[in-house]
């Protein structure tokens, strides 16, 4: 008998692995993630490289600001690259905004001038400067210029008022907030303190992993349903159940599909590990200067992902088996695609509940509501995994949860298996709930 189960596993696995969709999810997803991670750094690098000198014209009605601004711009890291001035400031010959504006607007329109700044006489009083350019989405440049100008204007005000600039700065210092998370799971049960960067990193990782977990459970459980239905509609199932016990067949099918999913994850993890360990090589190869935040995230992933991955696998397998047996039963009950899709959509509501509530639950992972929900088997895979990600529950709770999951999976497999056994060979009218109950006890 085990040989036959192996045959079924092999078929299920091979037919899935050979599809275009599978190849796509194996390769596209990591590429997508890579792109998302690297794109900001990459774009920044590209922009710096392609930049030519951009002319910034300043109309300075005060006559005071321009020299100071030019000096600060020359030293500002955003506005210059490798000693080469990217933004070149020139002062307009006329110091009247009204006189200069029509000529400058023309020049900006033709691209001769990148942007011009209109600094009015009363800038020290009302602090308003106008920035004119074709592209006004270049927020980096604008805010750098704004900060430099503010500094100059402020200094001037200090000088006029007689206060010492340093003194005022010291008096006006605002309070900063450093956020720490305290957890009880350090070595030897010591209290551990984590920086905020780490918790927000955890949150991001949790979102991503829960998304993948949910998506894969739904997609592959659905594919089990479609598959069962296909076997029923094409009647090949009659040949199959006259060769192998329906339970064994269903068992083999689930293992085969699950193995296909795990293959995808394995490829991703290996890919991820190779990537992380050779990250600098990659950056060099593309000539990308990594942003500081990116390096921190990578260090964090390296340091803390093994445990999370193990939990991910446990909850994926539990969730997958749980939902795909339910879906298999649905496929067996239905006799047409339309029917099955309706039921499938209804069933998909269950794992969606925690995803919908996720943002709320993130804010209060310790709320009794969240804890109770996370032990209901329908929600367990996603919700418990979320809790593990956000605020590690005590180990006994995790073990209890896994035990509960396993028990439910066993029960559901037994009942669904029986419904599957009977339903797969029944055609025509959909059974009533009463009939389903009878089948389950068959």
């Amino acid at each position: 008998m085990p040989n036959k189960i192996l045959t079924v596993i092999k078929r299920e696995y091979m037919t899935r692995v050979r599809t275009k969709g599978f190849v796509a999810s194996v390769f596209l997803m990591p590429m997508l993630i890579c792109t998302v991670i690297l794109l900001p750094s990459f774009m920044a690098t590209m922009e710096k490289k392609t930049a030519s000198v951009r002319r910034l014209v300043v109309i300075d009605e005060t006559g005071d600001i321009f020299p100071k601004l030019k000096a600060s711009v020359a030293q500002h890291p955003t506005l210059q690259q490798k000693g080469e001035l990217r933004y070149q400031l020139t002062r307009h010959t006329s110091d009247s905004i009204d006189e200069a504006k029509s000529e400058l607007r023309q020049q900006v329109a033709t691209g001769e001038v990148y942007a011009y700044l209109a600094i009015p006489k009363n800038v020290f009083q009302d602090g308003k400067v106008r920035y004119y350019a074709k592209t006004i989405s270049n927020v980096d440049v604008q805010s750098s210029l704004r900060r430099l100008l503010s500094e100059i204007v402020r200094n001037k005000r200090f000088a006029e008022s007689g206060y010492s600039q340093l003194e005022v700065k010291r008096l006006m210092r605002s309070v900063t907030f450093d956020t720490f998370a305290i957890t009880g799971d350090g070595e030897n049960g010591e209290v551990q303190v984590e920086r905020k960067v780490e918790t927000s990193f955890q949150r991001g990782r949790a979102f991503l992993l829960i998304f993948v977990l949910y998506l894969f459970i739904i997609i592959y459980a659905n594919s089990v349903m479609q598959n069962v239905l296909e076997e029923k509609i094409t009647r090949i199932v009659e040949v199959i159940v006259s060769s192998i016990k329906p339970y064994h067949f269903l068992f083999g099918k689930l293992i085969g599909v699950c193995a296909a999913c795990l293959t995808i994850f394995a490829v991703w993890v290996i890919f991820g590990a190779v990537l992380l360990n050779n990250f600098n090589l990659l950056l060099d190869a593309f000539g990308i200067d990594a942003q500081q935040s990116l390096l921190i995230v990578i260090a964090l992933i390296k340091a803390s992902s093994t445990n999370v991955l193990i939990y991910f696998l446990i909850y994926f397998i539990c969730g997958f088996v749980f939902y795909s047996t339910l879906y298999a039963a649905v496929g067996a009950i239905c006799s047409s695609n339309e029917d099955a899709q309706q039921f499938g959509a209804l069933l998909a509501i269950l794992p969606s509940v925690p995803v919908v509530l996720m943002v709320q639950l993130f804010k209060m992972p310790e709320a009794p509501f969240a804890i109770v929900l996370s032990h209901i088997p329908f929600f367990s895979p996603i919700l418990m995994f979320m809790r593990i990600n956000v605020l590690m529950p005590p180990l006994w709770e995790i073990l209890l949860n896994i035990l509960l999951m396993c028990a439910t999976v066993l029960l559901v497999t037994l009942i669904s298996g029986k419904i599957y056994r009977v339903g797969i060979l029944m055609y025509g009218k959909r059974p009533t709930l009463g009939q389903l109950w009878q089948w389950a006890r068959y």
Binding site: N3, T15, I233, I236, V239, I240
Partner: protein, 307 residues
């Protein structure tokens, strides 16, 4: 020795009695025909033999008093509704089912080539199932039924949907398989094939057995109530004879159905007395088709679909 034995098998679907008190046994190495009009309970019977549905009462046992679950690998089953995995390649799908039947891969691969060649489908082996014509898919399905050299081959309506050439091919294959020692049970309402193929038949109608036995015995038991005559002149003088139930006149030749098998003596006498110039007079065995139609009609049914 009996390979398969059904005893007092009953099956109800709700209030509808699909099979009522069916018993028969199949001798090893024989070809057994399960006949009956549509809806007679043939498919239900075969499905119960395969344990796809469970009988309400009665027993179904295989050689040596074994249950079907211990005998599965020795059975090849062709269901009434055909189907294969549509997206799989032909060779893969045959291999899958062969392995499910317990064949080892190497062994199966050899058999697949042998059978594809035999069915003249070798060049289709790497095509996907949904690229095949209906007839080709049927042949592939037949291969999957017999590839593991089963002792018992169960075919539900094997001839339906086949053209005359493929029907002959299938008939020859079935005989070949019997020569090779297989036992075959098949259901059909195509009587022509049954006469050529079967050793024994079972005629069921509305879930009940009307006739069962060796094909010659069944015919004999039914009696020779048909007469074929060749004549010169006219049949007018005897047309209203009390012995005749029906007459099919072709001019110089006629098939005459008698009211009673024993009527042939008075009928012959009448022919001579009325001066019909008869050149040939022969008692005919009834065809299975006639037996089928008569039996069913005698039990209040009508045959709508007896091609």
């Amino acid at each position: 020795m009996n390979l398969l034995q059904l005893e007092n098998v009953h099956k109800k679907f709700g209030d509808f009695t699909a099979v009522s008190d069916i018993s028969f046994s199949i001798e090893k190495g024989s070809v057994y025909g399960l006949l009956g009009p549509n809806g007679a309970g043939k498919t239900t019977t075969l499905r119960m033999i395969m344990d796809i549905i469970a009988p309400d009462a009665g027993s179904i046992t295989f050689s040596g008093n074994r249950q079907v679950q211990d005998f599965l690998d020795q059975i090849g089953y062709l269901p009434e509704e055909r189907g294969l995995y549509r997206k799989m390649k032909v060779r893969d799908v045959i291999l899958f089912i062969a392995e499910l039947k317990g064949l080892h891969k190497q062994q199966a691969l050899g058999e697949i080539e042998h059978w594809l060649e035999k069915m003249q489908l070798s060049e289709w082996g790497n095509k996907r199932v949904d690229e095949l014509s209906k007839g080709m898919a049927q042949k592939i399905q037949f291969i999957t039924t017999v590839i593991h050299k089963p002792e018992l081959i169960i075919l539900d309506e094997p001839f339906s949907g086949l053209d005359p050439i493929n029907m002959t091919l299938l008939k020859d294959l079935m005989l070949e398989l019997r020569e090779g020692g297989s036992t075959i049970i098949f259901s059909t309402h195509v009587m022509e094939q049954v006469e050529k193929l079967c050793d024994r038949i079972c005629l069921i109608h509305q879930g009940k057995v009307l006739l069962e036995g060796e094909i010659r015995a069944v015919k004999r038991g039914f009696g020779k109530n048909s007469v074929e005559i060749e004549y010169i002149g006219s049949l007018e003088p005897i047309r209203n004879s009390a012995c005749i139930q029906g007459i099919n006149d072709f001019g110089q030749y006629a098939e005459i159905k008698l009211r009673d098998p024993e009527d042939y003596r008075p009928f012959l006498q009448e022919l001579v007395e009325k001066g019909v110039d008869v050149t040939r007079f022969e008692l005919m065995e009834p065809t299975l088709h006639e037996i089928f139609v008569q039996s069913v009609e005698a039990h209040g049914g009508t045959v709508q679909n007896a091609e």
